[in-house]
Symmetry: C2
Subunit: 253 residues, 2 copies
DNA sequence: GCGTTAATGTTAAAATTATAACATTTAGTG
DNA sequence: CACTAAATGTTATAATTTTAACATTAACGC
């Protein structure tokens, strides 16, 4: 169940690499076998291709396939992320130049940006860039460099310099840990430089984190809590504002 | 058929923005309406969401949805692009640092790169970056800047400088027009700087174009034909090699 | 060449998804 | 409040996709 099966999958994968989907029917024709054989190839071998309603799609492509359908639970978890971003959205104004941090926290915000007429988004994250690239009314500036798969983002020597050259209005920063004494931290060290540069340059600094990050410390420290002008969070008020209340940052509970 | 319908679509779009797919069933539940209503929303309104075998996916996401299923005709057209890239592949060696140009020509090459153990790809195109980001064994360097949707690529002042700092082994350049007298050209002016920088820096310069580009001149000139060490094309030999034979470039017909 | 096994093809049944028609609810108007 | 029309729900039917079982072909060792 191997040699030719793998060859077929390779062929199909190449066909799909440029994007798009391939109907099972066409895939079978392309490989000159029956649809059933393609089906079997897909179930037997492990591959980056998955079958979605009779169509072959690249499973690893950032957009669509990741197979993790949002179930009811995840949908409610999404609600939390969504509300968080709704609050962050309130700070965004027409004409802003936004720095958008990496991670998944700020993703729900991006599609909301289509309501504006003119915005510029600066980012160093591939997933953010992809989402913004789809918005016709938003200018995208991607800060490139060497790609780090773990955070879907780029790092480079002169990232700080590049950021400082831009007129960033508002920086929306995410974090993996927020602690009153130990400050704000993330997982990956290459994220520190861009985050700090954005914080240094931006006119307004917003920290966007859900309440689960409070009291958590992660390996890479990048800022103190009062480096931020606003903390956007989803706490119930009682717990989170008590926690953050001592800092200088006005809290949007 | 409007207000709430649009709201639902917005909600769904936000849910999908972070990637992944949403089953019609879950989408209905999320919006607290019947599946039929979601179906109707999708057919009535124009939106970036499309329905693929009972699952909602973002249609604009680079990877999967673009709805343009490769039909038989396109599949055969793909064969041509595939063969072209196979020929280009023959020049790639383990450990290479490749400059990969923007456009769709070189896309079929990318998935083939998974056969190598160590490669570095340098690019200024978003679609190329996405394809390479999925390959675990290939290092990705993306040259960022302002995004140009027309070519899915980035442009910036210091792109040339960034490219020259890199030790690029082989430059794989694509083009929209190739003419013996008028040289090699493309559509977009912002592509000129990176292409020229790559040509200037790379140790080996490969022009990868299908035969349909011969005798064509496009607005942005970027190189003479004999700036290249190799021309990889898919001509039958007779026509194309005759055409290109006069140049200095050894022709791989 | 024969027998064996893997690979592929074919077909029918089951499950799922899409479409269409009609019923019901909701929102707005006079 | 009744009337109207838009919006949504429900149900049945059609189309498509998935699964499973069995038939056929190709590959390989002896």
């Amino acid at each position: 169940m191997n040699g030719r099966s793998a060859q077929r999958l390779a062929k199909l994968q190449e066909a799909l690499a440029s994007g798009g989907t391939l109907h099972l029917r066409d895939a079978a024709e392309l490989c000159d076998v029956s649809e059933m054989t393609i089906r079997r190839d897909l179930t037997t071998q492990v591959s980056a291709i998955s079958l979605l309603g009779g169509r072959l799609v690249m499973a690893n492509y950032p957009g669509v396939t990741p197979i993790y359908d949002l179930t009811e639970q995840q949908a409610s978890h999404y609600q939390a992320k969504y509300r968080l971003c709704q609050r962050a959205l309130a700070f965004i104004e027409e004409g802003d130049t936004l720095f958008i941090d990496c991670g998944s926290t700020l993703m729900p915000l991006l599609s909301q940006l289509s309501h504006f007429n003119e915005l510029t988004v600066v980012t160093y994250a591939l997933n953010v860039a992809n989402a913004v690239a789809a918005l016709p009314n938003v200018r995208l500036v991607l800060l490139g460099g060497l790609f780090y798969a773990a955070s879907q983002s780029f790092g480079s020597d002169n990232m700080a310099a590049s950021i400082e050259r831009l007129g960033i209005n508002k920086a929306l920063i995410s974090a993996a840990g927020v602690d009153l004494e130990r400050g704000v931290s993330c997982f990956h060290f290459h994220e520190v430089a861009p985050k700090q540069a954005a914080i240094a340059t931006a006119m307004q600094r917003l920290l966007v984190v859900d309440a689960s990050k409070f009291g958590v410390v992660r390996p890479a420290y990048f800022a103190a809590l009062d480096d931020f002008d606003v903390v956007v969070t989803d706490g119930e008020g009682a717990h989170s504002s008590q926690y953050l209340g001592c800092g200088n940052a006005p809290l949007l509970s």
